[in-house]
């Protein structure tokens, strides 16, 4: 029964669809004499620009949201002036300011590494975001092993951070970098393990397919409702995701009261903003990943209703709804991250390690086992 | 406990170096004495400060656990003495003791109280840089508030203000 269900789900998940790049090229009225490689190259360039633009806007919205949320939590208002309505243009103004700021590199710094580090950080996180589909029909890079790609690429940022810390030639930066390395390595394990539980339940590594698997029950057959062990698994994932994205209470790499600004102490201007961008992009990515594997991905009663009224999954309306749904879910996650950040104090480095290895890892293993047993039990009963 | 009683207790215990009490007195216009108000002091000999403080700390009747303050004063530019002033406080008996030791400006040196009270450490460092008193046996006789290369002892009355410091004008 489960297999039937899966096949049914996959049948509409793996419709031919196409890459956003190719879509654009198909849409452009290109004459026939244009050579193929130009089309490909043009597609890549245009596609990447759109991708970067979309992601940047999302990230900037995250930054603005963070400032508003933190402001209101602290009985303040947050930005109020730039742009008029509740300072909506604050992120843009800040971006312009950071672009125009003097770009300083300390004399004693390793200039090459100092220069490369932010690029690696930003590149890897945006690379990971490529694997994030925007709807059933819209995606930048389709991957059957999307989760792997996201986890692998997003943890590459650590290399950039360590590089930045080392290249800055500042003691505080070095501390920040080393903390980051230790912390991220420690939390990769519970992060991966806790993701294994929904992977068991959904039976796929692809984000599209994972979403499609949760399309039952009028769009509410979310993984977290189908298996009780996914609830603790989600909590573990969430804590590990906070640690992965260096968010409070795990912001040890930049711990401003201990390490001044950690690995980015010596960075300024646009280079610093790359690290900043990375943090918010990673938050978005981790929240969206949680949305895909626990909270139904693109699925919601709205998609259920659309599907029931016979709207094609490839239609524009359906895609827009999918995109909106997943973004709302993602931003709810981001809001939760912010809420936690502005509530909790920071943990100490040894406590971070203890928590990762002694608490989260065994509990995640337990959740995986539990989820698997539950699935097996279900299989035995229903088949 | 009043100062006189403390003095008697210490004398009875055979503590050396007590030079009597300096108590406030009302003004007397006939003898052109302005009087002295405020706080009574136990006058002591600076050389014997360590056994005295030890006795103050350990005697069950006194039990001055806390060294609150250790400082000095330069009563007059042309005077011959600097005063070293120590404030003790007893947590148990809830009384205070003010100790005054007169150090001649010609020989500004006295034993350090750090062995008795560790609280004396920073106070003595401050005192020695501000007044030029050497505390013998101090474990870490560096300057504390002033820069290491500061000349002179600023809280002495005969201190002359420098006109510049490392090329920075102080005018």
């Amino acid at each position: 029964m489960i297999q039937e269900q899966a096949q049914q789900a996959l049948s509409h998940a793996v419709h031919p669809g196409s890459n956003v790049f190719v879509r654009i090229l198909e849409w452009l009225p290109l004459p026939e004499w244009v050579p193929g490689w130009v089309i490909t190259l043009g597609g890549v360039v245009i596609g990447m620009s759109i991708f970067l633009a979309v992601m940047s806007v999302l990230v900037m919205f995250c930054v603005w949201l963070e400032r508003k949320v933190s402001g209101h939590i602290q009985c303040r208002t947050g930005p109020m002036y730039a742009g008029g309505w509740h300072g909506w243009a604050q992120s843009i103004a800040d971006g312009v300011k950071l672009l125009l700021k003097e770009d300083t590199i300390p004399n004693e710094a390793d200039r090459t590494l100092f220069w490369i580090a932010p690029a690696i950080v930003l590149g890897s996180i945006f690379g990971a975001m490529v694997a994030m589909p925007l709807s059933y029909d819209w995606w930048f890079g389709r991957m059957d092993l999307g989760v792997f790609a996201i986890l692998a690429l997003s943890s590459t940022t650590t290399i950039g951070v360590v590089m930045a810390g080392w290249a800055s030639n500042s003691k505080w930066s070095l501390y920040g970098a080393m903390r980051e390395a230790a912390q991220v390595v420690a939390y990769e394990i519970p992060l991966g393990l806790s993701l294994l539980a929904p992977l068991f339940v959904l039976g796929t590594f692809s984000l599209n397919e994972a979403s499609a698997m949760q399309s039952g029950w009028f769009g509410m057959k979310w993984a977290i409702f189908t298996n009780p062990f996914l609830i603790p698994a989600f909590m573990i994932y969430w804590i590990a995701a906070l640690a992965e994205t260096k968010r409070a209470p795990f912001d040890l790499p930049e711990a401003e009261s201990e390490l001044v600004a950690g690995f980015m102490t010596e960075y300024s201007g646009i280079r610093w903003s790359f690290f900043f961008f990375e943090e918010y992009a990673a938050m978005l990515l981790m929240s969206v990943l949680a949305a895909f594997f626990w909270f139904g991905g693109f699925e919601s009663p709205l998609t259920g209703a659309l599907r029931a009224s016979g709207v094609e999954e490839t239609s524009l309306l359906f895609s827009v709804v999918c995109f909106g749904t997943v973004m709302i879910k993602g931003f709810v996650g981001i809001f939760l991250m912010m809420w936690m950040r502005w509530t909790l104090p920071r943990v100490r480095i040894d406590q971070v390690m203890t928590m990762g290895y002694k608490y989260l890892t065994p509990l995640a293993l337990f959740c995986v086992l539990g989820a698997a047993c539950w699935e097996a039990l279900q299989h035995l009963i229903f088949s | 406990m009043e100062l006189q009683a403390i003095h008697d207790t210490l004398t009875a215990a055979g503590v050396a170096g007590l030079l009597g009490c300096d108590e406030p007195r009302p003004s007397n216009k006939k003898e052109k004495d302005q009087g002295r108000s405020g706080l009574p002091f136990l006058m002591v000999d600076p050389a014997g400060i360590v056994p005295l403080l030890t006795a103050c700390r350990d005697m069950p009747l006194l039990r001055f656990d806390l060294l609150i303050d250790l400082t000095a004063a330069d009563p007059a530019a042309d005077g011959e003495d600097l005063w070293v002033l120590i404030q003790l406080l007893s947590l148990k008996h809830r009384h205070r003791l003010a100790i005054k030791a007169c150090l001649p400006k010609s020989a500004l040196s006295m034993p350090s109280a750090t062995a008795v009270y560790r609280a004396a450490d920073w106070h003595e460092r401050e005192c020695s840089e501000m007044f030029g008193i050497t505390f013998e046996g101090h474990p870490d006789p560096r300057k504390i508030l002033l820069p290491d290369d500061w000349d002179g002892y600023p809280l002495r009355k005969d201190y002359e203000f420098p006109t510049e410091y490392h090329g920075i004008s102080c005018e």
């Binding site: 711990a255 201990e258 509530t343 104090p345 | 806390l66 404030q87 508030l145």
Partner: protein
């Protein structure tokens, strides 16, 4: 990364390290050894560092995250307060007292005024002035502890409690602004009494503040003091045993955090505190090692949090007993203080604030010594920080609740 040259232990250790070594094994093969040369890292925490609460420098020697040595360097904020005291008139020194412990300026005003009053035989402060003094001092104690609460949260990494604390602190400052016109450097309590009488409605507003604060205080406690992460960060950290606290001459919440039951307000009462204590208006909270060991950072923090509530009780008591009357005794405009010396210690939010004043009968003090509680309280950190983690050292500095203006004066 500078190597320490002063550390003998490190020096003695050095020869055993080598960068490259080659040796021939019995089998005739050559073997290379590469050994990483390690040395402790010396880190300057300060003079400009978020955790030092001002311009103070702590030189820390670290082995990885572990602190193996610490040395405090003071004096960056030395403003010659004592020398100034010897050069301005008695009353003119009052604004300067605001500035050493700028978070508790009322307490400084009070300490100095009481020291000078101690030199004036038979002088008595009017009752209403005493009550106004007590109200202001206790409100200021709350304000100061609110900063301690908030900044300690910042040190541990929680930013929001800081802003909540400052929200109430702003209210206290507005109250002070109404009574004396300044928000930080009050110069309100003067020799002989207080500058201004309370404006109409002020005492009612203070009462209203007390009511609101009690509710907010519960939030403070739940949000930070009882947060499990916070407890884990501060309990068992920076433990000061009783005898060590006494040996180092700690006073105030630092001493009480170690379980020593001593408060100048109760045990050596001044102003109306004796009467207040008899009326049961306040208790002295002590560290009990509730969450960790006796005398750890959490205990000191908890003592401060609880003291805020005791101060509220005191203010309430004052509001009950305050009556109309003169607000300042008979003090001439150009004050000549009778010759004499006095040392008066009062309970500042940070501990015993002592003023030693010496008059020769003139308009200007001969010696004006300020015994700042932060100075003594800070001296303990060099010892406490050794053997802790870098993050703990921040927690320890924060738990001493120093004001650098006062350590350096």
């Amino acid at each position: 990364m500078s190597n320490s040259t002063s550390d003998q232990a490190l020096k003695a250790h050095e020869p055993s390290y080598s960068t490259e070594e080659r040796r021939t094994l019995p089998s005739g093969e050559e073997e290379f050894f590469f050994d990483v040369k390690t040395s402790d890292l010396e880190v300057n925490m300060g003079p400009q560092h978020p955790a030092t609460h001002g311009v103070m420098r702590v030189l820390i020697r670290c082995d990885g995250e572990l602190v193996t040595g610490a040395q405090a360097h003071l004096g960056y904020l030395h403003r010659c307060a004592e020398k100034i005291g010897e050069n301005v008139e008695w009353l003119q020194y009052l604004p300067y007292t605001d500035r050493y412990d700028y978070l508790a300026a009322m307490n400084n005003n009070l300490g100095y005024s009481m020291a000078v009053e101690a030199l004036m035989p038979g002088f008595e402060v009017p009752r209403r002035a005493t009550m106004l003094r007590t109200i202001c001092v206790e409100l200021n104690r709350i304000a100061s502890h609110l900063v301690a609460y908030g900044t300690y949260g910042l040190d541990i990494g929680a930013i929001t409690p800081f802003l909540y604390a400052f929200r109430e602190r702003e209210w206290i400052q507005s109250l002070f602004e109404k009574i004396c016109g300044a928000r930080l450097t009050y110069s309100y309590i003067r020799i002989g009494g207080v500058f201004n009488d309370a404006p109409p409605g002020w005492l009612t507003e203070v009462g209203h503040f007390c009511d609101v604060f009690e509710e907010k205080w519960k939030e403070y406690r739940d949000l930070l003091a009882l947060n499990h992460i916070f407890i884990k960060r501060t309990a068992h950290v920076g433990v000061i045993p009783k005898d060590m606290a006494i040996d180092f001459g700690l006073t105030g919440p630092m001493l009480r955090g170690s379980g020593v039951d001593f408060d100048l307000r109760r045990d050596m009462p001044y102003m109306a505190y004796g009467e207040a204590h008899e009326a049961g208006a306040f208790d002295v909270p002590l560290g009990e090692g509730e969450k960790g060991e006796l005398g750890d950072c959490w205990d000191r923090f908890s003592v401060r949090v609880q003291e805020m509530m005791e101060s509220i009780k005191l203010v309430r008591w004052c509001l009950e007993v305050i009556e109309d009357g003169p607000i300042i005794g008979d003090v001439p405009k150009v004050l000549k203080v009778p010759p004499g010396e006095a040392y008066v210690g009062i309970e500042n939010p940070r501990g015993e604030l002592g003023h030693y004043v010496h008059s020769d009968g003139g308009k200007i003090a001969v010696r004006c010594r300020v015994r700042g509680p932060s100075f003594t309280n800070l001296s303990v950190i060099e010892e406490l920080m050794v053997g802790t983690l870098l993050a703990d050292s921040v927690a320890i500095i924060g738990s001493t609740d120093i004001v650098v203006g006062e350590t350096d004066r």
